[in-house]
Symmetry: C2
């Protein structure tokens, strides 16, 4: 595999760290195709773009669709440092991503395992494979440090 899952998560973490430097909540995401090629990588840019939809996952999905010239990401994997919120989870289903790999769970805002549990309803027309807890400690530490620094 050209871009194995551990490398994908390392890239997502690098995007999250770059987001923190920009003063954004540190979440990063990458999209890889079925062969493991990197299609897109993005960090959270809601503040910079003044756009509440500019979560890392949304930017990565839109980038990957542009790269493939398709509104469907068949066979692709999205790797993200934090459990997607309901908006991003529904976008993942709409894009027909085959797999979502994420790091830290998000009891406060998550929409996959928590709250809306977007993939669990028939109104979600696609249910990706979900792999949670990859590099969880490192992903969670980034967020914890960021918010601790803000309070300091």
């Amino acid at each position: 595999m050209a871009f194995p899952p551990s490398k994908a998560m390392a890239s997502a973490l690098a995007e999250a760290r770059a987001a923190a430097v920009r003063g954004e909540v540190p979440v990063g995401a990458v999209v890889t195709d079925a062969a493991g090629n990197l299609l897109a990588q993005a960090g959270n840019r809601t503040r910079e773009l003044r756009d509440p939809t500019a979560h890392a996952e949304m930017l990565a999905i839109r980038q990957a669709c542009a790269a493939l010239g398709s509104e469907r990401l068949i066979g692709c994997t999205l790797t993200v440092t934090l459990e997607p919120c309901a908006m991003c989870a529904a976008a993942i289903a709409a894009a027909r991503l085959e797999r979502v790999i994420y790091g830290a769970s998000d009891p406060k805002s998550g929409g996959v395992e928590q709250g809306a549990k977007v993939f669990s309803h028939p109104q979600s027309h696609h249910r990706p494979e979900v792999v949670a807890g990859v590099a969880e400690t490192e992903c969670a530490a980034l967020l914890k440090d960021f918010f601790a620094g803000r309070r300091g």
Copy 2:
């Protein structure tokens, strides 16, 4: 009010009809501010943009945020012809829209009254006022005619 709710829904319906002409699922949305001024209007462009996130509501929210230079649409109303899906509902909450007015319910893909019921969970950090069923017959007929035409 410069742009009363009925006028907002008329504009959303016009956007939905224009989307149908472009071969898109006919959904239209507008954002108005607290004084009733029109901030943004958009129709569904998922096919044209090859972007699964390019729902009418998402485009209108992003346009309105750009118009105000803010990632929060405090005091604003989103008027849309169809019940928002989970992605759009969560974006509405993220944008802190005060009110959502929609036309037709969407048992198949809706995320407000159906399925994910995005606003009903504590992970949704904002719960807008929801007004459903405005110009419902007209909004639903547009969709029905569009899909009937596709099967024809």
